[in-house]
Symmetry: none
Subunit: 193 residues, 4 copies
DNA sequence: GATGAATGAGCATTCATTCAT
DNA sequence: GATGAATGAATGCTCATTCAT
């Protein structure tokens, strides 16, 4: 219980101040314990943050996988739309985790890099293969190349929206989501011609 | 001269270690002076980093403006393509500034946020108006709405590529750029129908 | 049982790391219990170490007394020789206790000093009186002064060997023991002239 | 200046509390500076103590070498006597250095051991060869073996007195010194017969 | 312009100790 | 008897900053 609270506090502090600025005291304060108590649960700061980072990455991965699983029997366009909307919704709800994720991906603390790179690789591969698979199921005649292209383009758009989460106000971001979806619709139409 | 070197060192250290991890000593070491000497040029760490952040943002802004100016008499598709290619090329060349920029935008040190938000606003507004302007010059009949949509979509794609700079290897990123350009071509075709 | 194990572990840790470096955790680890459990047997660290020090001193005292008792009906030279050889043998076998004893005598933790001084006094007095007694039994005509001198000289030599236990390799130390014994033989010869 | 004071304070604190108990704060207090200031002169605690230990060993070595040099043209018995008296006098004057030396030799902090062992070896070798040399100069007919034996015996006695420095009161120790000197006289007489 | 020396504030971590279970 | 959980106090160390030179 306390252990879990510490983990969440670490993520929150990390999302605000980054690794170096997230001090054991700030984390302890958030959990209403003393810094020394953290060491009963985690060997040191590094171990705590390794646990936190793993949690963030896995949680992000699992969430997106769940979304995809839930809409897997729908049309590809609906899949795109759902992934976009639910991902943004998820990250809006859990702003601090998202910020932590973004910081983590963009400027990972030295020592996490290899672990992170491996995770990103796995995530991307899974996402690509899943989306390409769905596409080929729905449009068996589509060439592998076209399916691949559309998927990669979708990923660019997803990354773009991700980047914008923290920069745009709610209404603007909603508009951006619409633009993103209409973009995918347009690209799909073209590809299927 | 020394002042400028300090600024560059600050940016470099910031890009590697983030604000809290970028210490006056590390910066001084990079310039081959002692930490105390930095205070002859900058009142304190905050002022140094404020200067550094301004420099990064302006430098990024100016560069993109230059690109746009240079290709302003070309077709809108060429403009898109050039912005994409040159922006990526620029950021590849100056990895540390890019990293600093990305860190800065995604997890700005507390206290910089209002300044940063203002800058981003200005940049986005300028970018939008410029691109919409170009579009309307080339296609005087296009509706303002359509021009706006295409521009916003372009920005999503740009943001997506930006996010990917640090995550993808060179070859993959080149491929992503191609996909991005072909996307814009497709969207433009549709919009002009 | 556990209480005794804790005592031995305390001595061992003390012999390795000295008082300040011998932590309750290290001691607990050695006994395969948790630090909190030590407090069931000993009120605090100080009490534990007081017990440990008493044990070390008494054990050392008793051992030497036993040696002396065993050879008490032999000639004084044999007594010297036996004390030298058995003392060294004993301390070689129980290196950690010896180290603890040496540390204790040479740099006692503040607070133990008076207790230690008292013990040393008692030990020396006993040793002197015993050896002087033996001498006078064997050589009834010897002056008290001569007996005293020889005894004191023997103690210097014993102390010298003691100091060398940790500094010399086995073979060298064996040689030193021989030298020590031949020294006592020489001194005795002279004294009896 | 400050650097030197820190070194001396470190030695003093070490002599009282041993390595683990000699804290940077206690040392700083003794020099009337703040703990942080120590780090301007010494990289860390280990480096400070390495410097301190080297200083102690060298200072001890140099002092004894000077004594020996000063009396080198005197008779061997005078040499023994002078070494005994001056060594004890020196260590009485500088009690804390002596205590530090004793602690250091008997329970060296892990990491110093190899360095220390090497030093002791060199010191012993030098002492032996020097004394054997003097002996053979004064008594050219003496066998190497005899000279060696007497020297080693002298070292045992020296070690014994050393051990007793902290244990005996002034008057008792003076008496022990006398006994030691008369011992050497007796041994020498015998050896020359 | 530059730095040697110093420091207050803060940080990660350790450690002896406590206490409810 | 033993321990999980917690903590106050201290420890080694870093860092931004100051100031006299």
């Amino acid at each position: 219980m306390t252990k879990e609270k510490i983990l969440k506090a670490a993520i929150n502090q990390y999302s605000i101040h980054n690794y170096h600025g997230a001090t054991m005291k700030k984390i302890a304060d958030e959990v209403n314990i003393k810094p020394a108590s953290i060491y009963f649960f985690y060997k040191n700061k590094e171990e705590l943050f390794l646990a936190a980072f793993k949690w963030i990455l896995e949680s992000h991965f699992n969430y997106i996988r769940n979304i995809v699983d839930e809409v897997s029997n729908q049309s590809i366009l609906t899949i795109y739309q759902t992934i976009i909307q639910k991902t943004i919704a998820y990250h809006r709800e859990r702003q601090n985790e998202t910020n932590a994720y973004i910081s983590l991906v963009n400027s990972p603390p030295v020592g996490i890099k290899p672990f992170l790179h491996d995770h990103m690789q796995r995530f991307d591969t899974w996402m690509e293969q899943t989306l390409i698979g769905k596409m080929q199921t729905e449009y068996p005649d589509i060439s592998k190349e076209k399916a691949m292209r559309l998927t990669k383009q979708f990923l660019i758009i997803m990354d773009g929206l991700f980047w914008e989460i923290n920069l745009y106000e709610k209404e603007e971001l909603d508009k951006q989501m619409e633009y993103a979806i209409s973009m995918m619709a347009c690209l799909l139409r073209e590809e299927l011609k």
